[in-house]
Amino acid sequence: MKRVPIRFKLNGVERELEVQPADTLLEMLRDGLGIKSPKTGCDHGDCGTCTVFLDGRTARSCLVLAAEVDGCEIVTLEGIARNPSPLMRELARHNSFQCGFCAPGVVLSATELLRSNPHPTRLEIQHAIAGNLCRCTGYTPILEGIEAAIEAAAAERSLP
């Protein structure tokens, strides 16, 4: 089948590739480009481990064809982790994760929430990460880490 040429930005860098029509964005990132933070947890869009930012919004990369991202901007956890946020620091301090497999997806979903809503309620936080399945933690330590991050970020903003 005819390969599809695409141009896109990945973590701030312009890239050009030719992809198979049936390659998913997740496969392109993991197998083609060595970006490993999005995971193959279910490959059906149910678990959220494949989450990436696509044109500024979280998307399930297992449900996007690589060909679709021509002209798009993709940001993965690798791009965000270069400048660790209060969110990431507080999640680490609170021992919010156990096995860590869901962590990249959760960090991106929480990042998306806090960008548009710096003071969410606990219920809003639960909704924001409801699409990220975690089997280990029971979620409460993650929620506590995110809430601590909200306080820490507010404190940082109030500094002169």
Binding site: G41, C42, M88, F97, C99, G100, F101, Q126, A130, T140
Partner: protein, 788 residues
């Protein structure tokens, strides 16, 4: 060699003045996971030569394989090789060898692997797998564990009588009974005669799926030198190495030629223990020598072709006096153990030994029967049979309390087992904090005070139940550790206990840190490579904090002894006066004197004549319980010391039910567990919060459905619902109890599985308390409550 002091008989250490142990230090693997840097098995790169395998699976639950035609598959461009059972006629199994790598003459469950295609890319492999044609002759399908024991039932394993197995299993040849654990203690007839009330009922628990978020992923390479390496998401690298070497011995492999490397694991819960699909990477690698081949399980395969939590039909008969004393327990459990029980039979065994629950009962009759069925293999799942049997037992205990007009918590206080009491198999109960667990849990949920909902549709119910579990292990399950200092006095600790999320690496670092005074941030604990890291039986059974912790403690103690012996020798200071503080050796006899570890732990100590004494400090530690034995009377189960100790506790719940819809909301869930010593309280709380939610999910909405041909109808997250962040209880109250385990590191014992064990019974009893409905089968869904 330094003599290692035995730990078993040593008095429990004082745990009140530890500096690192007992503190909630930050996980040493946390940052790696949060930045996305942590590598899991599927993340490993093997270069452009990596081949991919797709598995051909049986669509039938029970059938004879008549013929396999691989010609069309082989012709597809990009296909390297197609293999099937005839290429791998090798048996394997952990406790019983009843399984082959690929089905041989027959298939025994829908999804069983029949053949495999190895190709240059996953899409070609998948397309080619669809082209493999298999001809089957259908056989009768056996799905019910009770019916499977009938004399006229189809036999799943005609060769059962010849299967090699561990000496504590009792299979019945020419039947579907793979193992029958019996306990006969006291006189059951006498016990029922003494009872004023006898209560009997049957409880049913279906199968459940682990649903670790990381699917199984494994890659094998059989290189040109005949060395087999498998990279796997595994809880058990050494056990896997052993089973691979045993199974593939006919190819000329010995243990030294087999290497298993296990990186971070994205959740195990028992599903990545033992050997299930991992052996495919090992076997397929030998079919394409010199090229790495990857096998990646899809989410659907995770559901239908990995270990599942076994289903059970349990008959409980309890005799109680009017005063509330339990006089007799008869407990019959028929386990739907699946097509292969090489691991699952030990679940049945473990339950057989412990199906009294944590109660003092003089007259006990237990029959725990492991039955073959044409369903996926049952295996280890967090709780190892205890979650399954406690649903029935703790439901029954509460009903018995009601039957004699007694408060269910008071009833439990009256009958709870105490230290030194005789267990069902004759050994003695270890120190435990059950009494404290009951008191604190009851207080946490406000036991005794009825609560009312503001919503007129809803009522509130409460319950409190007890739990216990012992590690189910062979009597000689061992752990070991190497500990290496570096020039700057930082440490690398090599263990083969797995980090599956529970925080093992951090806990081990804390233990070493406590003894050697090197801060946790200067300690790395390496994930296993069976070539480099020393032996660990498996990361299962909630035993690694205890077993591997003891090994690490021994290794650190060994290193400390070497340090003190060297300083005594080189500096002429009395060794018994030495102690460590802030990575420095000091002496009680010489207040001003201090020698930093980094000055000598690699380079040795320079002495007046300018020679050096000592050299690199290498600690070695090993722990294997020498008091455990599994051999007992086949008819009574008496004798032996099969369980090293029990971890105990209590769970309490406050839930609210909408009487119209049947929907249940958990307002409050409390769980008290006696961990002996919480090495890291945050991590213990993490296990409580996570395990409770997993347990509540099995009680309320997780629901595996098979059709009458043995096919799993919901192998996906759309229809097998696991909790989301919206499904958490209103409040989770973790309660840490510390009644020291005498032979545990700093008094610690394990607790990773225990936190889900009481959940189902907690919910069942609270539902009855709220709406008067007694459900005998799980899950306890809104539909069942509404329509009851």
């Amino acid at each position: 060699m330094i003599e290692l002091a035995p730990l078993v008989d040593a008095p429990p250490e004082s745990t009140t003045d530890t500096k690192v142990v007992g503190h909630s230090v930050q996980r040493i693997d946390g940052w790696e996971k949060i930045t996305g840097a942590a590598r899991f098995a599927d993340d490993l790169e093997f270069g452009p030569g990596l081949l991919h395998a797709a598995i051909v699976e049986s669509p039938h639950a029970h059938a004879r394989i008549v013929a396999i035609d691989t010609r069309a598959a082989e012709k597809l461009p990009g296909v390297v090789r197609v293999v099937s059972g005839k290429d791998f006629p090798y048996r394997f199994g952990l406790y019983m060898q009843d399984r082959h790598i690929f089905a041989q003459d027959r298939v025994r469950f829908v999804g069983e692997q029949v053949a495999a295609v190895i190709a240059c890319d996953p899409k070609i492999a998948a397309r080619a797998a669809a082209l493999v044609e298999v001809e089957y002759e259908l056989l009768p399908v056996v799905l019910d564990p009770v019916l499977a024991t009938a004399p006229d039932s189809a036999l799943l394993h005609p060769g059962l009588g010849a299967y090699p197995h561990v000496p504590w299993f009792f299979p019945r040849a020419d039947s579907n009974i793979a193992h029958w654990r019996k306990i006969r203690k006291g006189s059951i007839d006498q016990g029922f005669r003494e009872a004023d009330v006898i209560l009997e009922d049957t409880y049913r628990v279906p199968r459940y799926a682990h649903c670790a978020i990381e699917p199984h992923s494994m890659t094998g390479l059989f290189d040109a030198s005949g060395r087999l390496t498998v990279w796997a998401a595994s809880q058990s690298p050494f056990t896997q190495r052993h089973l691979f070497a045993q199974a593939l011995a006919p190819l000329g492999l010995s243990h030294k030629d087999v290497r298993v490397i296990a990186p971070y694991v994205g959740g195990g819960f028992g599903g990545k223990a033992g050997v299930s699909c991992e052996i495919l990477a090992a076997a397929l690698a030998t079919a394409v020598q010199g090229q790495p081949v990857k096998v990646m399980w899809s989410r659907a395969q995770e559901f239908y072709n990995t270990y599942q939590r076994q289903g059970v039909v349990a008959k409980v008969k309890l005799g109680v006096t009017r005063g509330g004393r339990i006089t007799a327990l008869e407990h019959q459990l028929y386990w739907d153990a699946g097509a292969y029980v090489e691991y699952g039979a030990n679940v049945v065994n473990a339950v057989g030994l412990s199906a009294t629950g944590p109660y003092r009962i003089d007259n006990v009759s237990i029959d725990s029967v492991c039955v073959y069925t044409n369903l996926p293999p049952g295996g280890p799942y967090r709780g190892f049979g205890y979650s399954e049997f406690f649903f029935g037992l703790e439901s029954h205990i509460t009903r018995a309390a009601h039957a004699v007009g007694m408060d269910p918590v008071a009833f439990r206080r009256l009958n709870v087992i105490r230290e030194g009491d005789t267990l069902a198999y004759g050994a003695r109960m270890n120190p435990n904090g059950l009494a404290e667990a009951i008191d604190r849990t009851a207080a946490a949920i406000g036991w005794g005070a009825r609560e009312y909902s503001a919503d007129p549709h809803k009522t509130i119910g409460k319950s409190l139940v007890l739990f216990w579990k012992a590690p189910a292990m062979p009597p000689n399950a061992a752990s070991s550790a190497f500990l290496k200092f570096n020039e700057d006095a930082s440490l690398n600790i090599l263990i083969s206990g797995m980090e599956i999320g529970q925080g093992l690496l951090t806990a081990m670092a804390q233990i070493a840190s406590e003894i050697l005074t090197v801060p946790v941030c200067k300690i790395r604990v390496e994930t296993p490579d069976t070539d480099r890291n020393p032996y660990e039986w498996q990361t299962v059974a909630s035993h690694v904090t205890w077993g591997c912790g003891n090994a690490v403690k021994n290794a650190a103690t060994d290193a400390r002894q070497q340090i003190f012996a060297l300083v005594e020798r080189a500096c002429a200071i009395d060794g018994s006066s030495l102690y460590l503080e802030d990575e420095t050796v000091k002496s009680r006899l010489r207040p001003g004197w201090a020698l930093p570890l980094r000055d000598f732990v690699i380079s040795g100590i320079q002495v007046p004549d300018n020679t050096f004494k000592g050299g690199p400090i290498l600690g070695r530690g090993m722990f294997m319980p020498e008091f455990s034995s599994a051999v007992s009377d086949p008819e009574t189960g008496q004798g032996g010391h099969p369980n090293v100790h029990y971890t105990t506790g209590a769970g309490g719940i406050v839930l609210e039910i909408d009487r119209q819809t049947g929907k249940t909301t958990v307002l409050k869930a409390a769980l008290a567990v006696d961990v002996g010593k919480a090495i890291n309280p945050d991590l213990v709380r993490g296990q409580i919060t996570g395990g409770l939610l997993q347990g509540l999910a099995t009680a309320l909405y997780e629901d595996m459905r098979f059709d009458d041909q043995g096919r799993l109808l919901n192998p996906n997250f759309s229809d097998y619902k696991i909790p989301t962040a919206l499904d958490i209880p209103g409040e989770v109250i973790p309660i840490i109890i510390e009644t020291a385990q005498p032979d545990g590191p700093f008094g610690a014992r394990g607790m990773g599985e225990h936190t889900m064990i009481p959940a189902a019974a907690m919910v069942a009893n609270a539902i009855e308390d709220a709406v008067g409905v007694r459900l005998h089968s799980m899950p306890l869904t809104a539909e069942k409550i509404a329509l009851a």
